[in-house]
């Protein structure tokens, strides 16, 4: 670990602010994830159409979601959460190393 480097480059206040924002982002996406997964058994119990209707090629909506839909949901959720988290970190941390237009100083130094 580069402990000493870390200590001199990110200030505790910056890290704390970024941590709180990331925690909000993660918890928000996690709630969406839980609602998406928990919706399945709720719909199974409350909506006959969910299990008994026949949609694409004879599959019920429930079967379609379990066979394809949930994996797509996880992937989209993951991509969105990763992009937002990385953007938050980029904007909130390392300000001292960025130029006035937001470009990385390290990048500017690169020949």
């Amino acid at each position: 670990m580069d402990d000493d480097d870390v200590g001199t480059r990110d200030t505790p206040a910056e890290v704390d602010a970024a941590f709180r924002t990331l925690r909000r982002v993660s918890v928000g996406y996690f709630v969406v994830f839980l609602l998406g997964v928990a919706a399945f058994p709720v719909l199974t119990l409350t909506l006959d159409w969910w299990s008994q209707a026949r949609l694409v090629g004879g599959m019920s909506p429930g079967f379609l979601v379990a066979a394809f839909g949930l994996y797509l949901f996880f992937a989209v959720l993951g991509i969105a959460a990763a992009r937002l988290s990385s953007a938050v970190e980029h904007r909130m941390l390392g300000a001292a190393e960025q130029g006035p237009d937001g470009a990385d100083a390290a990048e500017e130094d690169t020949p």
């Binding site: 480059r9 941590f19 925690r23 299990s51 090629g57 994996y71 130094d109």
Partner: protein
């Protein structure tokens, strides 16, 4: 064993051996042996994580569970895929930024306690062993089908266990994390290739997914019973009615569905062989991006596995008349061991070569997961126990040797336990013995490790005493419920007992929080926070990589100019 299946098996083993030899560790340092020098790229690490994670439970078990219980079997696939969402949201980036070698190492350093480290080593070993045993069972099943013969007086099942465990133990001891990463990446690509080949073959032969679901859902779902006939599965959601393939209820009621998914989703973040992989990423951001890749690859893999389980249920009964060899594997057209679903499908449509491809895929799944688990065991014993407590003055060479010895010892133990278990003993009581046994590992990890892990990353007030109390409680509750669920037949909530995380994880969290509030947090918590949630080290690594890249380009230009 036929010539084609023998050649397939030999080719697979030769390929992974070559990769392990070529990619063996270049140095003798523990960072090289355990963490591949912390320079594994996003795509390679994503493939290696998939190789680690997609075990016999994923390859044989998911299709088997869908084959035996229809839509309810798909919950295994959903739960296995869902597990990477919490990892992405809460664990991947901070875990990598904090660094270290293993889960016990992370917890020990973060909470400043050797006691935490040792308790975590105990829990990690329990998880590893629970995960290893079903892999050895899977290798026995595959050998039985692929080779069909034993050596040195052993049964085919026992030979499969002994041979696969010995081969992987030798490769891991030799290749370390660097060799294992590349063999797992190659193994995953081969595994995915085998699955996609089978799916393409089945679809090419005229299989229509939607029509098949509709057709097999018109009759009650039946599976072989102990009396030798077929028994209709009862409907857990609508008591008194028979279960149907395309609708939920063949295995789980609402609470059971939820308990299974929570157990699998929470367990992933506590699996030592998967989490150790994140320490090999160069930065926290790379670890996060790796998880996105894994989520996408998992989606493809499990969607195809669920389709093939359905295809097996539809196509195998029709194939019995034309394939006499199926008679000894089936009862009225239904397989007695659901894990045979994919290999049998391969043989029906591809002959012996098809069986060879699928069985090689299954063997690859087993080998790559066993490799990851053995390496995780070596890391926690070799680094967290030997280097820290038994021989603190150990040289790098001695520490690596300790890791290699641990690898071999754990392999012997897992093979021994695998030999004691036979899949036919359990097939009547579980949709897939391999998938069910893996669930036990997820249950212990999700109940004892994940809550403590998440609190250590996201709650400053977590203390060593809280973590020890939480992990101990989690293990006790999870193991207690698993034992009660296995022993007490006909209990009120059998599914909740066998997938205990829904209850055990909240208990662990409450115990950790309550004890932590009564004790003092480690003094250097702010420093840990800067490392875990700051990105300075990431930026440093990226800037350094850019400089190295620029320097390499400059030197190449100079060489070109000098040649002119």
């Amino acid at each position: 064993m036929t010539l084609s299946s023998g050649l397939t098996l030999a080719a697979v083993l030769a390929l992974v051996t070559v990769v392990a030899v070529v990619m063996r560790p270049r140095g003798t340092s523990t960072v090289d042996f355990y963490l591949a020098g912390q320079r594994v790229g996003v795509a390679t690490n994503a493939w290696a994580i998939c190789g680690d994670y997609f075990s016999a439970a994923s390859f044989l078990g998911v299709a088997a569970a869908v084959y035996a219980t229809g839509l309810d079997g798909a919950w295994y696939a959903v739960g296995f895929a869902a597990g990477f969402v919490p990892v992405l949201l809460f664990v991947a980036a901070p875990l990598r930024r904090f660094g270290e070698f293993s889960i016990p190492d992370f917890l020990g350093r973060r909470l400043g306690s050797e006691r935490v480290r040792l308790v975590a080593v105990g829990v990690v070993q329990l998880v590893i062993l629970s995960y290893l045993v079903p892999q050895t069972v899977g290798s026995g099943i595959t050998w039985e089908l692929l080779v069909g013969q034993g050596v040195a007086g052993l049964s085919p099942y026992a030979t499969g266990i002994v041979v696969s465990t010995a081969v992987v133990a030798a490769l891991v001891s030799f290749g370390g994390m660097r060799g294992t990463t590349w063999t797992q990446a190659v193994q995953f690509l081969l595994l995915l290739g085998a699955l996609l080949w089978l799916a393409a073959t089945v679809l090419g032969e005229g299989f229509h997914y939607g029509d098949a679901v509709e057709r097999i859902s018109t009759a009650p779902l039946g599976n072989p019973a102990p009396d030798g006939g077929l028994a209709t599965e009862p409907n857990a959601l609508h008591p008194g009615e028979p279960a149907v393939f395309g609708e939920p209820g063949a295995r789980y009621d609402v609470l059971g569905q939820l308990a299974l998914i929570v157990t699998l989703a929470m367990g992933t973040a506590g699996l030592p062989h998967v989490m150790n992989r994140y320490f090999t990423s160069p930065t926290g951001t790379a670890a996060r991006t790796t998880t996105v890749w894994v989520l996408c690859l998992a989606g493809v893999f499990y969607a195809v596995a669920v389709m093939l389980g359905t295809a097996a249920r539809e196509l195998i009964p029709r194939a019995v008349a034309d394939n006499a060899w199926l008679e000894e594997l089936t009862v009225d057209g239904v397989l007695t061991v659901p894990e045979h679903a994919l290999p049998v499908l391969g043989r029906i449509y591809g002959g012996d070569a098809g069986l060879g491809v699928v069985a090689a895929g299954a063997l690859i799944a087993v080998l790559s997961t066993i490799a990851g688990l053995l390496l995780a065991a070596a890391t926690s014993w070799g680094h967290d126990v030997y280097e820290r407590h038994i021989n603190p003055r150990a040289t790098q060479r001695q520490a690596v040797l300790a890791g290699r010895v641990t690898t071999l010892t754990t392999a012997c133990l897992a093979a021994g336990l695998g030999l004691l278990l036979s899949p036919t003993t359990f097939s009547a009581s579980t949709p897939s013995i391999v998938a069910t046994m893996v669930t036990w590992a997820f249950a212990i990890a999700g109940s004892a490790l994940t809550p403590v892990f998440l609190l250590s990353i996201w709650w400053r007030r977590t203390t060593a005493a809280g973590a020890v109390a939480g992990m101990s409680t989690g293990v006790a509750v999870a193991v207690g419920m698993l034992v009660a669920g296995t022993v007490a037949d006909g209990s009120v909530w059998p599914d909740l007992l066998l997938t205990p995380t829904l209850l055990a994880a909240p208990v662990t969290t409450v115990v950790t929080v309550v004890v932590s509030r009564r004790t003092a947090p480690p003094p250097d918590v702010e420093r840990s926070w800067l490392i875990m949630h700051g990105t300075a080290a990431d930026r440093h690594a990226v800037a350094l990589a850019r400089l190295v890249l620029a320097e390499t380009r400059r030197r190449r230009r100079e060489v070109r100019r000098a040649r002119r």
